[in-house]
């Protein structure tokens, strides 16, 4: 287990380092002067000079990289050159919106998808199983940004049930929840199908195992066999998928945030791409990547910790 955990953590660190390297190269690999790219054509000579000094642009590239790296590792992501505000703070302000959206979006998908998958595995080929199958394929086939657009069209514009844009009044929790419903619905919908399919397949596999047959032949009640013994094992691949799913949602929230004009890291990156504000893009992309890597790492470690088979196969 320790060997695996070390190896997996090492991989995560490598990925984050590659990300840092890529983001560092962002300003240096492309042709042109990094200052004018970072500051844009509007910069005055004074701003340029100050920026060069602040960003150590007159030092050798290797030194610059290590400064960038050590700053990034200590949480200093630089300063937005126009507003003079710390990038870490700018991203930090937007992060909670994205996290809430991703948690709620994946949360309702888990709460609905896992029971659906379970029930259809317990009674394969029943009506419920067929309906679940159709729902799964149907929801997987519609890309999440399209779900967002269509949900906006139907529920906000046509039926007028939901607010169209924004995240709601800051002090009004109910209003915020009201604003959260559509985006969370839109980004979670595809995952209902994924999760239901995965749980169903893995449940059916587990239900054929000897220890389940043994538990049954001992006369244990069906409910206990299914939920106490089968689900416990069948849920493992789902944990991996939830880890990946959460990371995907974190990144995929870009679409929902833009379409519903919600604040969040995705919207922030998009706006900064549009205004070509590179220091903020660097910081926001780095934080998103690091969180994504961290979450998938945790999911993999949990699975290895719960499931001895995974541990052994990896050694």
């Amino acid at each position: 287990m320790w060997f695996y955990a070390l190896k997996r953590t090492g991989l995560a660190l490598v990925i984050v380092s590659v990300a840092i390297l890529l983001l560092f190269s962002l300003l240096h690999l492309i042709p042109g002067d990094p200052v004018s790219i970072a500051l844009g054509p509007r910069a005055t000579p004074e701003i340029i000079e100050r920026y060069e000094e602040k960003m150590h642009l007159n030092d050798p590239l290797v030194i610059q990289f290590f400064i960038f790296l050590s700053n990034a590792l200590t949480g200093d992501l630089g300063v937005d050159v126009f507003s003079e505000r710390s990038v870490a703070r700018i991203v930090g302000e937007q992060l909670p919106y994205t996290l809430v959206l991703a948690v709620v979006g994946l949360g309702w998908a888990v709460l609905l998808g896992i029971p659906l998958g379970c029930l259809s595995a317990v009674r394969p080929h029943s009506l419920l199983d067929r309906i679940t199958g159709v729902i799964s394929v149907g929801t997987i086939a519609v890309p999440s940004f399209l779900v967002s657009i269509w949900a906006l069209l139907i529920f906000a514009i046509h039926l007028n049930w939901m607010p169209v844009i924004g995240a709601g009044e800051p002090d009004d929790l109910l209003d915020q929840i009201h604003h959260l419903i559509l985006p969370a619905f839109a980004i979670g919908l595809g995952w209902v199908g994924y999760l239901a399919r995965l749980v169903r397949a893995s449940m059916l596999e587990v239900m054929g195992e000897n220890y389940i047959r043994a538990a049954r032949s001992f006369g244990l009640p069906q409910r206990m066999v299914i939920y106490r013994y089968a689900l416990k094992v069948a849920i493992l691949p789902t944990i991996t998928l939830i880890g990946i799913g959460f990371g995907h949602l974190l990144a995929g929230a870009v679409y929902a945030e833009i379409i519903f004009a919600r604040p969040g890291v995705g919207k922030l990156i998009y706006d900064m791409v549009m205004s070509r504000n590179f220091p903020v893009i660097q910081g926001a992309v780095l934080i998103t990547t690091a969180m994504y890597v961290f979450i998938t790492l945790i999911a993999d470690l949990i699975v290895a910790w719960i499931d001895p088979r995974v541990r052994e196969s990896l050694q």
């Binding site: 990925i15 394969p124 394929v137 519609v142 890309p143 069209l153 397949a201 990156i269 791409v273």
Partner: protein, 299 residues
């Protein structure tokens, strides 16, 4: 019977067997409703994209301001956009962009992934470990976010979309090719070739490749909708294919801006995306069921 004749008989028998196997596979495929629906949708996608200039009732770039934002009418079956262009014609031409990106993107990713995967599986251990690390690293990135960063640098273009799509798709093909290469690497026929002195390149291209390529083709079918969705998504954000080029993403983008005035562009721009995704997913799953019973989902 002479030895020669019996050899010939063997050949005839094995050819017959291969033929009946193929017929069985075709029968199995056509008894799969999902597979047939998928095949029809995929053919529709190809045909509508290839023959768009023949089918489209209007020039997709021809403006008709007085007719702007109309709903479906007899003249414009999917309505018109904010410039009075015929949405149905634009959707058909958008299919050409999707087809181009999918065809080029998937085939390059397929070839590179196949090659790297076979090298990883057949080559020395350190090379294998390095390639696996590269694949895993690419897969561990949040793709949309990295794509946004890349667009920020170079500005949006179709070439960039293509590169993003290829980089994202390579690890899947590479991993699969590697696993399959590892599985047959120590089979007798490979060992025999090796001991006869065949160079690694010959072994990989002549003997390994035909045996690992099948599952990769299924993956290719399943990757097409992924690629098309990425293109549409980036173009929707205004970071991929740019207006006035008609792509499903730009139709959705322009439709989103006028969504309060007319729902038709976002409906018409989205439906082909859903149908194509369904088609390739159904087709890929049916092919997997037919050719790879080991991977078959419980039925």
């Amino acid at each position: 019977m002479s030895e020669k004749a019996s050899n010939k008989d063997d050949k005839v028998v094995s050819a017959e067997r291969a033929y009946s196997k193929r017929r069985e596979a075709i029968q199995l495929f056509f008894s799969n409703t999902q597979g047939v629906v998928g095949l029809i949708l995929v053919i529709l996608f190809f045909a509508s994209a290839l023959f768009a200039p023949l089918i489209a009732p209007y020039d997709p770039y021809q403006m008709d301001i007085p007719q702007r934002l109309s709903g479906p009418t007899r003249a414009h079956i999917a309505g018109t956009d904010q410039l009075g262009r015929d949405t149905f014609s634009r959707v058909l031409y958008g299919g050409r962009v999707a087809l181009k990106i999918a065809a080029i993107g998937v085939s390059i990713a397929f070839s590179v992934g196949l090659l790297l995967g076979m090298i990883a599986g057949y080559g020395p251990r350190w090379l294998d470990n390095t390639l696996i690390l590269v694949f895993d690293t690419i897969r561990a990135f949040p793709t949309i976010v990295m794509a946004l960063a890349a667009v920020a640098l170079t500005g949006p273009s179709m070439e960039l979309v293509m590169i993003i799509v290829i980089v994202i798709a390579i690890p899947g093909f590479g991993r699969l090719a590697r696993t399959n290469t590892l599985a047959i690497k120590n089979h007798e026929f490979i060992t025999a070739e090796r001991s006869l002195g065949a160079p690694p390149v010959t072994i990989l291209l002549r003997h390994v490749m035909p045996n690992v390529i099948g599952p990769l083709l299924i993956l290719a079918a399943m990757d097409v909708p992924v690629v098309i969705t990425i293109e549409a998504g980036l173009s929707f954000l205004g970071l991929g294919v740019l207006p006035p080029t008609a792509s499903w993403g730009t139709i959705l983008n322009e439709g989103y801006l006028v969504i309060r005035d007319t729902p038709w562009p976002v409906i018409a721009g989205g439906i082909p995306l859903v149908l194509t995704t369904l088609g390739f997913t159904f087709l890929g799953e049916a092919l997997r069921d037919v050719f790879d019973p080991k991977l078959r989902k419980d039925k």
